[in-house]
């Protein structure tokens, strides 16, 4: 593999990894604070992509489209918490997990009911790639990478630098102690779901910009997102982001060795290997026995 080929693979992998990281962060946040794996994350992304396409068609501006997608999806996530997930407090994680699968199906079918199965796409100027030290970088990649990185950092900043983020981490750490410290669950959960929605929305719009907008797009990214969340250490959002990026890179860089068909399987093999050798995740902390 020549350096240029490797470099190009790395660029592609990085973009892919940032997408997985966004989805993985949404999954991980939910797992850390609400304590269940949210299978509807992928369909939040799909919803965001459709919302973005529609809003772009309506306003004529990609920025406005993306912004409305973020707002609408955050609203959707909060609504799903209020209407569904709030009611599972104190039950095992299977119940909300199954309900989130149901929500995923419901969201996707409501979308297809109204807009059908046809392919849609964002309107973006298409430009030739810039060749940079042998690596081809598309201008859109720079935008995608930049936006994803900014979003990831923003979410982590909310989590680590703001009072509400601090409370969120406290709830994730020990829900009972959090209540006994006077932390109000409602505000924390509403913020959490807003973040989950926003994170999925940026991921969905990015995915839509890079590919095409179809009903199954988000669902297809769900497994890698779960993989990132687990690899990063269950309930460790920073870990999920790093693991997502790593997964994208590994997938891309492994192709010269395993070919394109096994590319996706690689991340799952890695996932299983990690669980066996290091059950707490690559960057995780040991889980207390519950």
């Amino acid at each position: 593999m020549s350096a240029a080929v490797g470099l190009n693979l790395a660029v592609a992998g990085l973009i892919q990894g940032l997408l997985i990281a966004l989805a993985g962060l949404a999954v991980s946040l939910c797992f850390a604070v609400a304590r269940f794996p949210n299978a509807a994350t992928g369909d939040f992304m799909t919803f965001a992509a459709y919302a973005g396409v529609a809003a772009q068609a309506w306003t004529g501006s990609l920025l406005a489209g993306a912004a409305s997608a973020v707002l609408l999806t955050a609203g959707l996530a909060v609504a799903s918490y209020v209407l569904v997930f709030r009611n599972f407090r104190g039950r095992s994680l299977v119940a909300p997990l199954i309900a989130s699968i149901g929500l995923a199906f419901l969201l996707r079918s409501v979308l297809t009911f109204f807009v059908g199965f046809d392919q849609h796409s964002f309107h973006v100027p298409i430009a030739r790639a810039i060749v940079f030290a042998g690596a081809r970088v598309r201008p859109i990649d720079l935008w995608l990478a930049g936006t994803s990185a900014v979003t990831l950092l923003a979410v982590l900043a909310v989590l680590f630098l703001t009072p509400i983020g601090r409370r969120m981490r406290a709830v994730a750490d020990n829900p009972e102690l959090a209540r006994a410290s006077g932390i109000r669950a409602r505000a924390v959960m509403l913020t959490l779901w807003t973040l989950i929605g926003a994170c999925s929305a940026v991921g969905g719009v990015m995915l839509g910009l890079q590919t095409v907008v179809v009903p199954e797009m988000g669902w297809n990214l769900l497994l890698p997102a779960f993989a990132a969340a687990v690899l990063g250490g269950v309930g460790n959002p920073t870990g999920a982001v790093l693991a997502g990026i790593a997964l994208g890179l590994v997938q891309a860089l492994s192709t010269p060795l395993v070919g394109f068909t096994y590319q996706t399987a690689i991340s799952f093999i890695l996932l299983i290997a990690t669980l066996v050798l290091r059950p707490q995740g690559l960057l995780g902390r040991a889980e207390p026995v519950r």
Binding site: D118, S121, A129, V131, Q210, T211, A252
Partner: protein
């Protein structure tokens, strides 16, 4: 499509058929007491949903045309519609329902090879005809099609592969490359492309097989373009092809790209724009835009769906299925069973015989005892000994945002 209208259509067709039947009973008794039932089994939902409802509508309006032309002598026709969901399981149950509950004699319009392969044993066992639009080679092997009841209206993979090679020669390509979506049909067609191209003295590196649902095909493209080809076949479907075309442009690709017609939708043009598509070669067993059958089909299709007939090649095939089936029924006579009908299919579709472009024309000539050769909306519709249609490929090139047909491959 509103179901109420469809149910009405079904009933009207039945009644019209019954009237014809009554008239015919006097002369010829035999099986005329029982209508001939057709099952329209299309991919209304799932991966084939882009085409499915257009196919179903076409079958209904084509049968309507048959009825207006006076129907098949001595054979009233009923039609029942079902959805395959583009899934073999659902298709099997739907086929079962059609055969067992609705007692259909022919199933027409199955799409995607896995669906047709799953349905074929059922139709075969029930002595039911299967007219399909799938390209898997296995569908016409003696093992799978022992009674010769299955007929392929879509170009088989080897024919498409040969077409790619012919285009490469026509375009004077020196170094060719290929990418294929990871499924039976696409891998087979680039495989045939490779063998045809190498037989003609060219060389082709291993085709790059890619997975569906990837967020980027940059790496795959990079490998396909690594030998600096001047000719690249991308054999896939609409979503993945859209991504690949855009990424090829962004990567500064200079090779001529050829894609099959089914990988191109109205959304592709809208999404990519004229500049990206400029020079793209699209090959398809295109409806012979000049043919009379295509004009009739196109008008009816526009009326039924609001889209041009050229946007749904499978609908054109369904149109031809109805014509060929009813003409064969007409020729075989009202007492004929499916074996007899199947036997005369090549006789009404292949040369020699006077060229006809509709059931109405053909019926008149058959009544007069003449030989006919149906020339259809999706091509000339001539079958080989295995029951595969031998298509004519149209080669079109994008220029200034418009697809212009350049030449035909026969």
């Amino acid at each position: 499509m509103p179901v109420r209208k469809w149910m009405l259509t079904r009933r009207v067709l039945g009644q019209a058929g019954a009237a014809t039947a009554l008239a015919a009973v006097v002369g010829r008794p035999a099986r005329a007491d029982r209508p001939y039932r057709i099952g329209a089994l299309n991919p209304i939902t799932g991966a084939g949903s882009t085409y499915g409802s257009g196919m179903q509508k076409t079958i209904l309006f084509a049968l309507e045309e048959v009825k207006r032309a006076g129907g098949v002598d001595g054979r009233p026709i009923e039609v029942y519609a079902e959805d395959t969901q583009t899934s073999p399981d659902a298709a099997v149950l739907a086929a079962r329902k059609l055969i067992d509950a609705n007692k259909v004699d022919a199933i027409i319009g199955t799409w995607s090879s896995s669906v047709s392969l799953a349905v074929l044993p059922i139709t075969n066992e029930a002595n039911c005809l299967l007219l399909h639009t799938s390209s898997a080679p296995a569908l016409s092997t003696p093992a799978q099609n022992p009674k010769h009841l299955a007929w392929r209206f879509q170009a088989a993979s080897h024919q498409i592969g040969d077409a790619y090679a012919a285009i490469a020669a026509h375009e004077k390509a020196s170094r060719a490359a290929a990418m294929a979506f990871n499924n039976d049909v696409q891998i087979a067609s680039v495989g045939f492309f490779r063998s045809a191209w190498e037989k003609a003295g060219g060389k082709l590196p291993n085709p790059v097989v890619y997975e569906p649902n990837r967020t980027s095909y940059a790496a795959e493209l990079q490998q396909a373009l690594s030998e600096k080809p001047d000719f690249l076949v991308v054999s896939g479907y609409v979503p993945d092809t859209s991504i690949i075309l855009r990424e090829a442009y962004e990567a500064g690709n200079t090779a001529k790209i050829v894609i099959p017609g089914w990988a191109m939708g109205p959304a592709t043009v809208k999404a990519l724009g004229a500049e990206v598509l400029e020079g793209l070669i699209v090959v398809d067993a295109v409806p012979d835009a000049g043919s009379a059958a295509f004009k009739t089909f196109d008008a009816a299709y526009r009326a039924a769906t609001g889209n041009p007939g050229s946007s749904n090649i499978y609908a054109a095939m369904c149109y031809d299925m109805v014509a060929v089936l009813t003409l064969a029924m007409q020729k075989a006579g009202p007492s004929a069973d499916n074996a007899a009908i199947a036997q005369v299919i090549p006789e009404v579709a292949n040369p020699p015989g006077q060229a006809v472009s509709s059931f109405a024309e053909g019926r008149k000539l058959l009544q007069a005892g003449q030989k006919i050769n149906y020339e259809g909306a999706s091509g000339p519709i001539d079958f080989d000994e295995r029951g595969d249609v031998t298509p004519v490929f149209g080669v079109s090139v994008f220029h200034d945002g418009k697809l212009e047909q350049r030449y035909l491959l026969k």
